[in-house]
Amino acid sequence: MSDPADLTIAAAGAKLRSGELSSVDLTEAVLERARMSESHLHAYLTLDQTGAREKATAADAALAAGDDRGPLHGIPIALKDNMCTKGIETTASSQILAGWIPPYDATVVSRLQAAGSVLVGKTNLDEFAMGSSTENSAYGATRNPWNTDTVPGGSSGGSAAAVATGSALAALGSDTGGSIRQPAALCGVVGVKPTYGLVSRYGLIAFASSLDQIGPFTRSVEDSAVLLEAIAGHDIHDATSIRGEIPNFRGSLHHGVAGLKIGVIKELSGPEIDPEVRTSVSKMHDALADAGAEVTEVSLPSCEYGLSAYYLIAPAECSANLARFDGVRFGLRSEGATTEEMMAATRAEGFGPEVIRRILLGTYALSAGYYDAFYGQAQRVRTLIRQQFAAAYEGVDVLVAPTSPTTAFEIGAKTDDPIAMYYADVCTIPINLTGDPGASIPIGLDSADLPIGYQVMAPSLGEERMFQVAQAVEDIANFTARAPLATSEVVSP
C-alpha cells in the first residue's frame, strides 16, 4: 500500500471513513515525511507537531462519535505563514515580525478548524509575499523537491513544496501576482487563485489589498474544489468579501470539455515563453480540441502591459499596508531618540531588501507630482485589461495559457536582477488585475525533469467552469510523476 502521506484528500477521506486509516495515522505519516525532507527543503517555518497530534486525536474521536465535519475532517493541512494563527508564531517570513504570536485566527483558519482539519504548521514564503522564488525569506530559502538546486517558485513556495513532498496533504497560499499558481506549476501540484472577494482576507497579513486572494494547493483538481468550498464565503470581517451563495464547485467536475469554447491567449504564447513549456502547453491545447472543445486564439494586447501596471499598483498598496510595521504595536523595535527615529530604524532593520525596494517604489509612485503619471495611469491600464478580458469572455468560456514562462530556475539565478524576477509572473499577473479566478494544473515534465503548469482562467465567479476544464486537463495529462524528495528511498540518509 502507498504511504498515507501521498494520498489525495478524497482518497484519505474514504479511508478515514472505512476505518482503514485514522487521522493520527495520516498525521504521523505527514510528520514523518516532514522529518525526512525538511533538512533538504525548508518548506516549513513552524512545524506544530504537538498541536497536529492533538487535533488528529480529537478528529478521530469525533468521527468515532458520529460527528463528521465533512471532506476535510482529519486531513493534515499546512498554512502559508502570512495567515494569522492564534497562539502560533506568524512572521510573514520577516524579521520585523520575528516571534509575533497573533491574538486571533484568520477567518480561513477558523473555517478549516470548523471543518475538522489538522493544522500541520506554517510554511515559508518570500517576505510579506513579495517575490517569485521564496528566496526573499528572512529565515532562508525553500528548495524545490524536484531538484533542490532550483527554486520552488513563490511567494507561496513553502506551501507548494510541502504538498509536492507529502509533508501536508494540502495547503493554503495567497496569490497577489501569481504566488499560488506559479509555485504550483514549478512544484508539480494544483494551485488555485479564486475570484477576488470569494475568500475572506481577514487575518491575512496584507500586501496589496486589491489583489491579494487566498487559495488552495492540492494534488488533484477535485481536492482544490473541496478545499475552496470549505474556505469560501462572505465574512463580516472583510468588507470586500462577496455576498451571496457559494456555487457548487464540483457540480460539473466530470462533464468534460465537449462543446466548450477555449481561448488561447496569443500574447502569452510567443517566444518569451520557454520552448519546452510552449510545446507542452500547445499539445494540451490540441488534446482539449480532440476532446471536443472549440479551441481558438484570442488576442488580449493589453496583457503585455499587465506587468508594468502591476509593479506600480502592488508596490503602491504595499507601501500603505506596511506602514503599520513601525515598532509600536507588534514585532521588532529598534532604538531611537524620538518616535520617528525609532520607526525609521525599526523599519530599516526589520525589512529585507525586496520589501524596502517595493515600499520605496510605492511611496514614489504615490507621491505628489508623480501620482497621476504612475499610479493613476496604472489604474487606467488596469481598466483596459479588465475590459479586454470581459470582451474575450463574451466569445469563450475559459482562457488558457502557460502558468509560468519557464520551469523552476536555479537558486540565486535572479536574485540580483529584480526585473528578471518580476518577469516570472508575466502569465499570472493579468487576472490578479482583473480579479478573475485561475488554476494551474501540472501537465508534464521538461527535459530536466521539472514540472510544467497549464493555466485555466474563467470570468469572475466562474469557478465551476474553471474546475470543469481543469479536471479535463488533469485527466488528459495523467500526471502521476512524484517529486524525487517525496519518495523515502531518495530521502533516507
Binding site: G336, A337, T338, L360, Y364, A378, R380
Partner: protein, 110 residues
Amino acid sequence: MRADASPSPVSIAAMPVEIDIAKVASLARIALSAEELARYGAQLGAILEHAERVQQLPTEGIPPTSHPVPMTNSFRPDKVTESLSPDEALSGAPAAEDGYFKVPPVLGDE
C-alpha cells in the same frame, strides 16, 4: 484625479525618471545609509523605466480601477460583538504601560 486633468500620455512618456531617493526614504520612514540610498535609487530608476510602459497606452476617458469587485458600500448590523481585550491587543507590543502602547518621545530635545 481626473484623466482629462493630466498631461497627454506622450508628454508624460517624455518625462525623465528623476528620483529624490533620500526624500522617498524619509517619506517611507526607512533609515538608509548613503550607500543603500544609491543602490536603491539606481534599482528604482531601472524598475520605473520598465513601469513607464503603462504610459504608452492611450487611456483618455478610461476610468481608473482601484478595486476589482464592483461594490460601493458594505454594511453589517450595528451590534456589539466580542473583540480583543486590552491585554490581548497589547500582547505583541514591544513596550506597553497601564493599558497603553508606549513609544519614545514624539518631539526631540531641541
